[in-house]
């Protein structure tokens, strides 16, 4: 497609891919892809879950080697042999899944990879970080241990790390998935400033509005093949809506006006029904670098979806973990169907119908080296019919797993594939399938659609609505305001471990939530 164009202007490309193919057992992840990455451009890479986006940038960042084709750096064919080599070439990457060392502090993580014979230059780093964070409008706790940070904060550290290295090419793989709308706009503005200084940026996202707002050039992948490109000239000529509908057509082959514009739910919550989940005065002790929770109280009735809005790292993870039983609460009560559960173990709470979909899918949601099939049943180990008298029933497990794979459209070469080999969105589908399975009464969703492509996001949101409609109580934690507004009955705003206000999801909810989030009264 761009074969002829890339050769004629090859001099201008910082990095170019020519006919790059990458195969994995049972799948062609990239099928002779051409791509040209130029200074001064934000190159948006789009595609469904499993389309091959992360694989492509894995080759640009030296994690993997192409099976066929070549990579040109400054017009010269250059095999990128290792992540270190990629950094030396000026290619900095923020990966989809966190790559920080959890036991080290943020500063130590940022200093990693320096020459081993030199003392780490801490002061220099601090000055540089201060400069970057100021322009980004974020705060980073340099001396906090990474394991104490929320995933959203870790993502910011990753972005920071790529920028500290003075890259010429910055690759961001779904880096906005944990940011608030404001944070996303700030990142967009920053990318604009960076490309104006002559950097090149590759930006992967599933949110088409971001693509249209921040991009200069768009490439669309489908099943490993590049199926279309919108060059800058055309990009500028088209309006946002025209771009989005063109992308949707390229990706899904069908047209739809604004696919994300879902009307607000019209559901009838039985106001007289007794609450399924009652939380009263829940408190969790803070640690040095993570907020605790203070006097959190709310009720959720059957059929109701309560949203939790707020900037990531304000206690959302602590709240979800305290409810699920993974984190000790210092005081307060949690009642499920009127029965106190705050003293019960994680497993016992689950048996009583409490489900928790974690946002940390590789860290705690799955066992990466185990097959997809087993990962569906991690929380049911020993339960019939998948185990009988403690003995594994291969047939039953595989049959049910195959069914879930079909139902949730998990793209996997086989049921035996280690789950960490799946694309990010497809791992997320495995988690969703697991938590929505039978027996649930109350479900806590922490960023349920993070990493899902458009079609799957919509399908999953519908599933969650259906879940609630069956009479379950749903707690939906998200940084995505659109998601909350399109699904919730009420939205509570969390800041610094406390709920600062709760608003009914009516017409002016957006502004009222926004006011609460910046610290004003609703």
């Amino acid at each position: 497609m761009s074969g002829s164009s890339s050769s004629s202007v090859a001099g201008r490309d910082i990095v170019a891919l020519e006919g790059v193919t990458k195969r994995f057992p049972g799948i062609v992840a990239n099928d002779s892809v051409d791509l040209s990455i130029r200074p001064g451009e934000v190159h948006v890479l789009l595609g469904e879950n499993g389309a091959g986006k992360s694989t492509l940038i894995g080759m640009l960042s030296g994690l993997q080697q192409p099976d066929e084709g070549r990579i040109l750096v400054d017009g010269k064919p250059t095999p990128i042999t290792s992540p270190r080599h990629a950094l030396a070439l000026g290619i900095g990457t923020v990966f989809q899944h966190m790559m920080l060392v959890p036991t080290l502090t943020v500063a130590e993580n940022l200093l990693l990879g320096g020459p081993w014979w030199q003392r780490p230059r801490t002061e220099e780093l601090e000055a540089r970080v201060a400069e970057i964070t100021r322009s980004l409008g974020i705060t980073v706790k340099l001396h906090a241990k990474v394991s104490e940070l929320s995933l959203g904060e870790q993502q910011q550290v990753e972005i920071l790390r790529a920028m500290v290295r003075n890259s010429r090419l910055l690759i961001l793989d779904e880096s906005t998935s944990m940011l608030t709308p404001k944070g996303i706009d700030e990142l967009g503005a920053l990318m604009r400033r960076l490309v104006e200084q002559g950097l090149a940026i590759v930006f992967i996202t599933h949110k088409l509005k971001e693509a249209a707002a921040f991009g200069d050039r768009i490439s669309v992948l489908k099943l490993g093949r590049k199926v279309g490109e919108i060059p800058p000239e055309r990009f500028r000529a088209l309006g946002e809506q025209a771009i989005i509908s063109e992308i949707v057509e390229l990706m899904f082959g069908k047209q739809k006006d604004d696919p994300e514009a879902v009307e607000r739910p019209v559901r009838t919550v039985r106001a007289e029904a007794a609450p399924l989940l009652q939380v009263a005065d829940l408190a969790v002790a803070p640690t040095d670098n993570a907020p605790g929770l203070s006097s959190i109280s709310f009720d959720i009735r059957p059929g109701e979806i309560l949203g939790i809005a707020g900037i990531d790292g304000n206690g959302q993870k602590q709240l979800a973990e305290a409810l699920a039983g993974q984190r000790a609460a210092t005081s307060g009560s949690v009642r499920l169907e009127g029965i106190a559960i705050e003293a019960l173990s994680v497993g016992e709470r689950r048996r009583r119908g409490l489900r928790y979909l974690t946002d940390d899918r590789l860290g705690e949601g799955t066992v990466g080296t185990f097959p997809v099939s087993i990962n569906f049943f991690l929380k049911q180990v020993g339960a019939a019919p998948f185990w009988r008298h403690g003995v594994e029933q291969r047939g039953e497990i595989d049959e049910r797993a195959a069914q879930l794979v079909r139902e949730y459209d998990v793209r996997t070469p086989s049921l035996k594939t280690p789950v960490a080999r799946l694309s990010g969105g497809n791992i997320q589908k495995v988690l969703l399938a697991r938590e929505l399975a039978e027996g649930a009464k109350v479900v806590i969703f922490n960023k349920p659609t993070y990493g899902l492509d458009l079609a799957n996001t919509l399908a999953s949101r519908q599933r969650i609505r259906d879940t609630a409609a069956r009479g379950l109580a749903v707690l939906l934690i998200s940084t995505d305001l659109e998601e909350l507004l399109s699904m919730c009955d009420r939205v509570a705003v969390i800041a610094n471990g406390a709920i600062v206000g709760t608003v009914e999801n009516t017409d002016d909810a957006r502004t009222r939530i926004g006011r609460l989030m910046i610290g004003l009264a609703a």
């Binding site: 042999t81 290792s82 949601g365 185990w387 403690g390 003995v391």
Partner: protein
């Protein structure tokens, strides 16, 4: 979204290629295991040359004494019995991500309790019942011995590598003290426990000198393998080993499982001690410490914690240790040269793995 069409059309072809791929995989595995062992033999041979011993003679003795002479092979198979129990215990612990390096202490305490109880018990009950009881006592004592590191790890997060190693030093000393002060046989001058009469020991197999403990050891390791790979309990342990945070998230009782793992692992080590005493030795002499526990660790690693592969490597280890003992005697090489050999094998294997990885990377680049 109808993406699944592509794979189904070529599913049969895919199956065929994947079968070929697994065959190639197994071949590659074999090569990657046997190749380094050969290289290690050459390196160890050079060391022997350097100290003035003819390596061919050494290896010849090892093979002849450990494998090809009728008496040697019987000794080798007998030696396997305790080693198999120890390997089974290590497989449970390692698969659950817990480094129980206290095998020797647990082994010796099991051995001493078996040696102390068996001769007494056979006098008051039928010998099969007496032996069963001493096995159980040995197991229980070793389990209790593992409680300190287990509880520290489960509830305080204290690293078990250090605690189990410390407990092994304490355990060997305690075993010694028990032999010298508590269970000492008053009828002999050498400090040792009372001796279990030969006719009360575990029966020998057929007309040979091979102990039937070998069968117990084989049963133990195969059961452990099946439990770890086929049951819910084994899966829970593997989840704890592969991703402890996922285990917490999935609602597994990680602390309880940790204590259980230590108990099973130590219990099997205690049984190893008992099977060596009740099957072969008959008593424990003071200062006796064969250090099987540490020697088995590399075999379990080489087997990648697979029970069946471990049987093979334990056999190899037995050949080396039986053959090595006699070759050492005849050629004047220190007895511990077998350990040197095994560690060279491990180092070469690790290097081979690294080189293989680099080669794969650079071939694609």
């Amino acid at each position: 979204m109808s993406i699944d069409t592509a794979p189904t059309t070529s599913a049969a072809a895919l199956d065929a290629t994947s079968a070929a791929a697994t065959r190639r995989d197994i071949l590659h595995r074999l090569l990657m295991t046997l190749g380094p062992i050969l290289i290690a033999l050459v390196i160890a041979g050079c060391i022997l040359l350097a100290v003035g011993v003819d390596p061919l003679a050494y290896y010849g003795f090892v093979l002849e004494k450990g494998l090809f002479s009728p008496l040697g092979i019987q000794q080798t198979l007998t030696r396997m019995a305790p080693l198999l129990f120890l390997a089974a215990g290590l497989i449970v612990a390692f698969r659950a991500g817990m480094w129980n390096l206290g095998g020797d202490g647990q082994f010796l305490l099991g051995a001493v309790t078996a040696a102390a109880s068996a001769p007494v018990l056979v006098q008051i009950m039928p010998s099969w019942l007496a032996l069963t009881f001493s096995f159980l006592i040995a197991m229980a004592v070793a389990m209790i011995w593992s409680l300190v590191p287990a509880l520290l790890r489960a509830y305080q997060g204290v690293n078990e590598i250090i605690t189990t190693l410390m407990m092994t030093f304490l355990g060997t000393s305690l075993a010694n003290v028990l032999v010298k002060l508590v269970f000492r046989d008053p009828s002999t001058t050498v400090p040792q426990t009372r001796t279990l009469p030969v006719e009360d020991r575990l029966p020998r197999l057929f007309e040979t000198t091979i102990t039937s403990g070998l069968l117990l050891g084989l049963a133990a390791i195969i059961i452990v393998h099946l439990v770890m790979t086929r049951t819910a309990f084994g899966l829970k342990l593997r989840i704890v080993g592969a991703n402890p945070r996922a285990a917490v998230h999935a609602g597994l009782g990680v602390s309880g499982l940790t204590v259980t793992v230590f108990a099973i692992s130590a219990g099997l080590a205690g049984l190893a001690g008992a099977v060596d005493i009740i099957g072969v030795q008959g008593n424990v002499r003071a200062d006796w410490n064969p250090a099987y526990g540490l020697a088995v660790i590399p075999a379990v690693f080489l087997a990648r914690m697979n029970g069946f592969a471990a049987i093979g490597f334990v056999f190899l280890l037995s050949v080396l240790s039986i053959g090595g003992e006699s070759a050492a005697r005849r050629l004047g090489v220190p007895n511990h040269f077998t350990l040197v050999l095994v560690s060279i094998v491990l180092i070469v294997l690790a290097l081979a793995e690294y080189v293989d990885h680099r080669y794969n990377q650079s071939r694609k680049a």
